[in-house]
């Protein structure tokens, strides 16, 4: 059965001090620590492109897993900030830069913060229908390309990072169970790239997340006939500390079961879930994981992952 075997990431070394930045907008360190949740924001070097971040994450994955380049059958890259203007697709640029085999299915998918959950099922489905043994899902969506440095709504929130997830037909660690998805295009005006600059209506993003994600979690658990207590970890997209804490409050979750990992990364869009899952996959005590991504679109997706019994 196709499942997840390994996850790796790439986080740029260059960081922005968010507390110093907040002071310029008249915000104190409490606001950054308690509300935003990101003390530092990694920002890619200007000459580094989306494909370069993707390549670093894939190289880390290959080193970690021992999988050879020639073994990869498909590469799916999730981004809304591709190299150039998206033509050619960034996955093809990655194939060339990493000298991956020509017998490789490589394509981009355009999704934001829900992209990782969608991407898992896209890679799984493609591997299944094309009878492939190994697939890689990459997230690389550097918002620093479109952030307006004068806009306090976004500049203190987003960091750059990339991830690479290895899906295999045999010997996987996490099984892919039930997933649910949703879209509501009425939200499209509230989080948008307008002429190369990101615009975000924070209140509308917050309302969307706080009302949609609890239903997503409840419906997913209902369909799997599971209870909240059956889940060992809830991995929410790390939109901001405040959004994650709001979800904890509204769903009445145990805070110990909901990792917050954005202090050194900020909101890394479709990379935020795999950045946490990279650790969770190494923890045998974590058996059932619920992942939930939500954002631009509006678009949302939730999935249950279960550790395979040895």
């Amino acid at each position: 059965m196709i499942g997840i075997k390994e996850i790796a990431s790439y986080i740029p070394e260059r960081v922005r001090d968010n507390i110093q930045l907040a002071a310029k907008f008249g915000k104190g360190s409490d606001f950054i620590r308690e509300r935003i949740g990101a003390i530092y924001l990694p920002i890619k070097e200007p000459e580094m492109n989306t494909s370069d971040m993707a390549c670093r994450a894939i190289e880390n994955l290959l080193n970690k897993s021992g999988v050879g380049k020639d073994e990869i059958g498909c590469l799916v890259l999730c981004t809304q900030n591709p190299d150039g203007r998206g033509l050619p697709h960034t996955a093809a640029i990655v194939q060339e830069k990493l000298e991956l085999p020509r017998a490789l299915a490589a394509f981009d998918i355009s999704l934001g913060c829900s992209g990782y959950v969608y991407g898992i099922n896209i890679v799984k489905g493609f591997m299944d229908s094309a009878d492939l043994k190994i697939g890689v899902l990459v997230t690389s969506d550097p918002y620093s390309k479109i952030i307006d440095s004068k806009d306090p709504t976004t500049v203190m929130l987003f960091g750059d990072a990339a991830s690479a997830t290895l899906l295999v037909r045999e010997d996987s660690i996490l099984e892919i169970k039930k997933s649910l998805y949703g879209t509501d295009g009425r939200g499209s005006i509230h989080l948008i790239n307008d002429g190369g600059r990101l615009h975000m209506n924070g209140r509308q993003v917050f309302n969307f997340a706080a009302t949609t994600v609890p239903h997503l979690v409840e419906n997913l658990l209902d369909e799997e006939k599971m209870e909240i207590s059956d889940i060992d970890q809830f991995l929410f997209h790390q939109g901001s500390r405040y959004i994650v804490e709001t979800l904890i409050r509204r769903l009445k979750l145990d805070t110990k079961k909901v990792p917050l990992k954005m202090e050194k990364t900020g909101n890394t869009v479709s990379s935020s879930i795999p950045l946490i899952l990279e650790n969770s996959i190494q923890e045998p005590r974590v058996r059932n994981i619920l992942i939930a991504g939500f954002g631009v679109g509006w678009s949302w997706g939730g999935m249950i992952l279960t550790r395979k019994q040895k």
Binding site: F31, R35, N201, G202, R203, Q204, F206, N207, A210, T211, Y242, T246, R249
Partner: protein, 75 residues
Amino acid sequence: MKADPEVIIRIIQEANTKIDFDSFNEEADLRDIGADSLDMMTIILEVQTKYDLEIPDEQIENLTSVSKICRYING
């Protein structure tokens, strides 16, 4: 459903905000007694959920006290 100040106060208490309830009264501007912009977003969201209504962005700046929120809901 008619808005009741007691219900709005309970919503605010349960919203886990930074509001100082020692200085609280129905007329108090919530921002003056500790609520920041995110607290206000949460309070308005919980009010929307309770009364099943959608409050437009342009109204938010005016809904700064329990009495103002009640007056808005009760039309």
